[in-house]
Symmetry: C2
């Protein structure tokens, strides 16, 4: 069974059982794992294929000979990529040595490590000065930590093969100074709550495990006791390095950013990156110092984290681009291969994980990978469930959360974000939504403005437009007041606040979730309710989006919808300007051109577009003089860093309270080969706001083809499941229990 350790029981002073288990190898691929794995070689197709592929790759690299160049470049440049390749190849060579027994792999690792040992102590700081924590081999300590975490595994593989004088030399001249450098000499990197530190902690701990170095393992687990860092110092992404009373080290990095549900507050893109150090080091601790029970920490949160991560993907296995996130990153990523393999083997052997392993098409070269490959061979794979989920955020699960509503058959994913800020990579996107259909973005979150590892674009680093555009509220499908971002775009304030879940619910015909945000703007409540409706008499499900705002004073409200593709039809009369000028002066508005605008003349307006050969429509309950701005990204972009993506902004002016109600429908596809549309007719005809006050908001959803209309009512002030409500609309008295009502309108 899983054993829960509370954080306070885990403090430094209480631990004394440093009984390093066994000889070497001992980390993840330990002696018993090697025996176990070797006994199945040649009989497990997926493992054998992964082994063969790795062998070819490593052999080809070894043919080129070893190169340990002087550190010089940013990522993308030669010295950076060579050092990176070195640690990746060495770690794999270690596995090959243990599995195949060919000494050439051990010799390769040894010679490479000796070359590093020969230069390390004389290396100055890396010549590139951009980082708040410069490394020695790389421009930032983060990459030096990557190196150490991988090299520790290569070193562990050959440790008992090496003569003890050589381990002595390597321990003293390379690894201990290396570990001290990224920890003692860089507390601003090592001693924080951040994915950077998770890497640093794990790397230092890992080499400590190899060398049986208690001091390093302690430092890794519990951080530096006196780091001398000033409270409220910031890194070069603007993130805080130290908060008052901050506890640090690996355990604290496990405690704080993960919610009890396994949601990582930085979001899936950074979680994917951090899962590797978290899991690799936790498993190594499990194998070498099992009494610490690191893997069981916080009710086995690392296993929940793998499931949370797999849930935050579209139908192509790509992670939802929340916060700073590069699009296209997916479960195919190497760090997900290890995460899923380790969660399978050290967790509860969930057969649904095997379907992910199959999609990945490769396994780790150790007992975890072998066990998954055997299970797949033996036909144990089960599909990974793509159901709706609600994940809490915050160490205690009390800082809001994130929901994904799904209709798996229709390949629909609706992401609704009511989390905390997400540390320094967070965006000002409270109550933002994004929508995916068959893995295609229907309403997009822009992602980040960065060309990761493309040297020509600002050295592959975050570009200025990441701050001036991507993080701003107007870059998201959520409400902006008076052209200012949430929390006025102030990280110090935003990072102290979070939204709150209001209710979730549903039945066979509707899945619904509602959340509120009361801190983003002064004296203003934002309240958004989203749902997926699936009715037996309609061909397909649709999405309801009910966004209610109430404020103490009059404001301008902007609600963007970042559709993609080509406008096909609109119920509105869109006027286009002669020349394009920026929509505003700051908060991201300076990056938007206005290509067209329209004023509502009807209580229900519609807008249809074509994207990726599919049709999508928004039908919106509208008011006289509501404005729609058809915008295009690209203004104030001197380096052409931004994609020229379109959006539609729904604007209401001079309103205290307002309702933005939309339904979104994916309807039909177009084949350029057949030159025919299929199922292209919309189901939703119109959407009407029936009622709106402090107590209730009610919508009427009117269908085509004489299907009975539905009413959706949300109770704005009482989310209790058992609370009774009644409301009279158009002479009909509706009575129900719970925070919402969804039913056909009779007569």
């Amino acid at each position: 069974g899983i054993f829960l350790l509370s954080f306070t029981s885990f403090v430094h002073s209480s631990v004394s059982n440093f009984d390093f288990v066994g000889g070497h190898p001992r980390l993840v691929f330990n002696a018993s794992g090697v025996d176990e794995t070797k006994s199945h070689l040649g009989a497990v197709p997926l493992f054998d294929a992964s082994l063969e592929q790795t062998r070819k790759m490593v052999d080809a690299e070894m043919e080129l000979g070893i190169d340990v160049p002087l550190p010089k470049d940013f990522s993308g440049g030669y010295s950076h990529e060579r050092h990176k390749r070195n640690y990746i190849v060495a770690q794999k060579a270690g596995q090959l040595f243990l599995l195949l027994g060919d000494e050439k792999y051990a010799i390769y690792i040894r010679d490479m490590l000796l070359q590093y040992a020969s230069i390390y102590n004389d290396l100055p700081l890396h010549p590139k000065e951009r980082s708040y924590a410069r490394g020695k081999l790389f421009w930032q300590c983060l990459n030096d930590s990557n190196w150490l975490l991988y090299m520790a595994q290569a070193y562990d593989a050959i440790y008992s093969w090496l003569p003890s004088e050589q381990t002595q030399t390597l321990n003293t001249n390379l690894f201990r100074p290396f570990a001290d450098f990224i920890s003692l000499e860089n507390p601003q990197f090592f001693n924080r709550i951040h994915n950077h530190s998770a890497w640093g902690n794990a790397a230092v701990g890992m080499i400590g495990l190899v060398m049986s170095d208690e001091e390093l393992v302690e430092r890794a687990l519990f951080g530096l006791q006196d780091d001398g860092i000033k409270i409220n110092a910031k890194d070069n992404d603007g993130g805080f390095i130290k908060k008052p009373g901050q506890v640090t080290g690996f355990i604290a990095n496990l405690e704080e950013p993960f919610s009890p549900d396994g949601y990582y507050t930085e979001g899936p893109y950074y979680q994917r990156y951090a899962m590797y150090p978290f899991l690799i080091f936790a498993v190594a601790m499990n194998n070498v110092l099992p009494d610490f029970e690191v893997l069981e920490y916080k009710d086995g949160v690392l296993f929940s984290a793998v499931h949370a991560l797999l849930s935050l993907t579209d139908h192509n296995g790509e992670f939802f681009p929340l916060n700073d996130a590069q699009k296209g990153m997916s479960v195919q990523s190497a760090s997900l291969v290890s995460a899923v393999n380790l969660a399978y083997y050290y967790g509860d052997r969930d057969p649904a994980l095997l379907s992910v392993v199959e999609k990945q098409g490769a396994v780790m070269l150790n007992q975890a990978g072998m066990s998954a490959a055997i299970a797949i061979r033996d036909g144990q794979t089960a599909p990974y469930p793509r159901t709706s989920i609600h994940l809490t955020d915050g160490a205690d699960g009390k800082q809001g959360g994130i929901s994904v509503l799904r209709d798996d058959q229709a390949k629909l994913d609706l992401v609704f974000k009511y989390t905390a800020h997400g540390l320094s990579h967070g965006h000002y996107d409270k109550l933002g939504i994004s929508v995916f259909h068959a893995g295609q973005e229907v309403l997009q979150d822009y992602g980040l403005v960065r060309f990761v590892n493309i040297e020509e674009k600002g050295g592959g680093n975050y570009l200025p437009e990441n701050t001036t555009w991507a993080k701003q509220t107007i870059a998201h499908n959520t409400l902006v007041l008076n052209e200012k971002s949430h929390f006025a775009g102030d990280y110090a304030v935003g990072s102290q606040n979070h939204s709150d879940l209001y209710f979730t619910g549903g039945d066979a015909s509707i899945q619904i979730v509602s959340a509120k945000e009361t801190n983003a703007y002064e004296d203003t409540e934002l309240h958004r309710t989203v749902a997926i409706v699936k009715k037996p008499d309609l061909l397909r499900p649709y999405i309801v989006d009910l966004y209610r705002v109430s404020s103490a004073k009059k404001n301008q409200y902007d609600l963007p919808f970042y559709y993609q593709g080509q406008m096909i039809d609109s119920s509105m009369n869109v006027r286009v300007p002669e020349s394009l000028i920026a929509l505003g002066k700051g908060s991201g508005y300076q990056h938007l051109y206005v290509e067209g605008s329209a004023r509502s003349s009807s209580e229900s307006e519609s807008f249809t577009w074509l994207y990726g050969h599919r049709f999508y429509s928004l039908v919106q309950a509208s008011e006289q003089d509501d404005q729609r701005l058809f915008v295009r990204l690209g203004a104030s972009d001197p380096e052409f860093n931004l994609r020229r993506d379109p959006g539609m902004i729904w604007r209401k002016e001079n309103a205290k309270s307002a309702v933005f109600a939309s339904v979104l429908e994916a309807h039909g596809s177009y084949s350029p080969v057949l030159e025919m549309s299929k199922d292209a007719e919309r189901n939703i005809d119109r959407l009407i706001t029936l009622h709106n006050d402090q107590e209730f908001t009610a919508l009427k959803i009117i269908y085509k083809n004489s299907i009975k209309p539905d009413v959706l009512v949300v109770a704005n002030k009482a989310a209790g499941e058992s609370k009774f409500h009644s409301l009279e609309i158009d002479g009909v008295n509706y009575r129900w229990q719970g925070p919402f009502l969804f039913q056909p309108i009779e007569g």
Copy 2:
């Protein structure tokens, strides 16, 4: 052997042998074909699968019952789509009846035809008035012809099963009046050289073959002798309906638009559409009236045409979007299934065609489809060669042509168009190029501005921007003088002229083609030479583009490059404006915004972009003050009909003679999962114009990594293979034979 008939021997009066062969069925799937096909049923996987799929589709349609609605809608609307579906299903039901012997299929066809017969004679013209030739069932006679060509086949399948009173009724009340309506009553549709007429001719001929109606077959083959159409009348696309001395009918439509190489002057998109009537009727003639030798006409041009069409595709099998063409149309199209099956069976059983059939994954339900499916089953498939081709244009092959230079290994296709205008669907794109890499457009031709069969966009018809943008020269990767399109955008002039091939050549390291255009602008010669270079010491091939212009007076020259994706780097200092305004006032310039501009400061400039995770660079031999305009489509577009695609326009002002020399390199790929670039470094460092006068233009291509530079010299006035040339550059005397020299520069 194939027998060549000259057109003059084929005139109406010389033919008298109307010996209709056999009973019914007699057209393509004739009695012997049915026997042959049935004998293999159940033993040929691809055929059996196609049969099963068709059976399911037809059975499902039959369940719905027959509906013959009153004609009312444009394409996309119900009545249109229903009538279209009727003829498609009926034709397939005919095949099923013949193959499976189940009378329900015959009854379905009979009942449907009787319903049509009961309404046809009272039908007025279709209520939609847009067409120059309105149909009765559809808004244009073209669709009525589609109906007749398919229904003739359905009718043929049940002809001998029907009691003769019923064939009498159908012949008299439906088919003969139907055929007369689209021919005698619509000579402006039937009696021209155009894909519309090819459909009309084939439809009338086909039903004539079924009914043994000599008059209809004669009319189909040789047109209406006295049509009463005025010379120079135009259709609603602006195409001429009748030229002086015009010969008409199916044979003339076979003679004129196809070059001896099988290139169809309207381009592959319309050829794909026209191949169906051409081949189906030619094969039916072959089976029913073999003495006419229609299939052998013009040295078997219909078979060459199928090969020409298959050659005009990118690596995904999608047709190059030349002239008015919707992108995405591919060899998967149903009309290509029949074209390839028939070319295989009635042609020389080329095993390379089988690889196309395999990709299509379906075969015709007749002896042609069966024969291909058997050959595939028996492992006879050979790969379809993707080599460079040069196709002539014009009935006599003397109206220019089109070249595709290829490197199959690198998946590179370079399309170079020096054709005639291409009838009413032609664009003003003399010497235009487009480039494809792995099926992705690197330098695009915009295609058409039309949302085919999407009713909401102008009824699915050509939109105004097709004329104001897509047809204009500035919409293409070719030279524009003084912001005016070729031939001043005048169809009457453009359609009288064509470019000319200057030379083709090459060896293992270079494939090269050169063409000239002397009519597009007064007193001006446009001369473009393009090449693919593949050197053993470079990782990958690259493209050379040498565009030379000489004019009697000074002009402004604009050469656009319609790249796609995101700008990564430029050697130039690009300035961006505060607001976006249109580049010009007409000829397509009114649709382009200028997002940035730069002036050259170096003799070689470069520009790199990222598209579909791949890197591309243009390196250009430049002159002081050359301008680059970074443009974005979308100005003057009130209905949002245009894609917001980017382009880079290279502008030279106040020049008589000028050289625009570029190399284009696809270099490396970027993985968003690995976050790594592969092979991203460019091979080409710089490009210099060494020499340019009336006689010679010489380029120096300078590589990175100390590879010896190359020189490329083109002789501008003598294309002869045997002609000797000499030229001194930088003290080196180059001597060579033939129109070009490509070799390393020594020393």
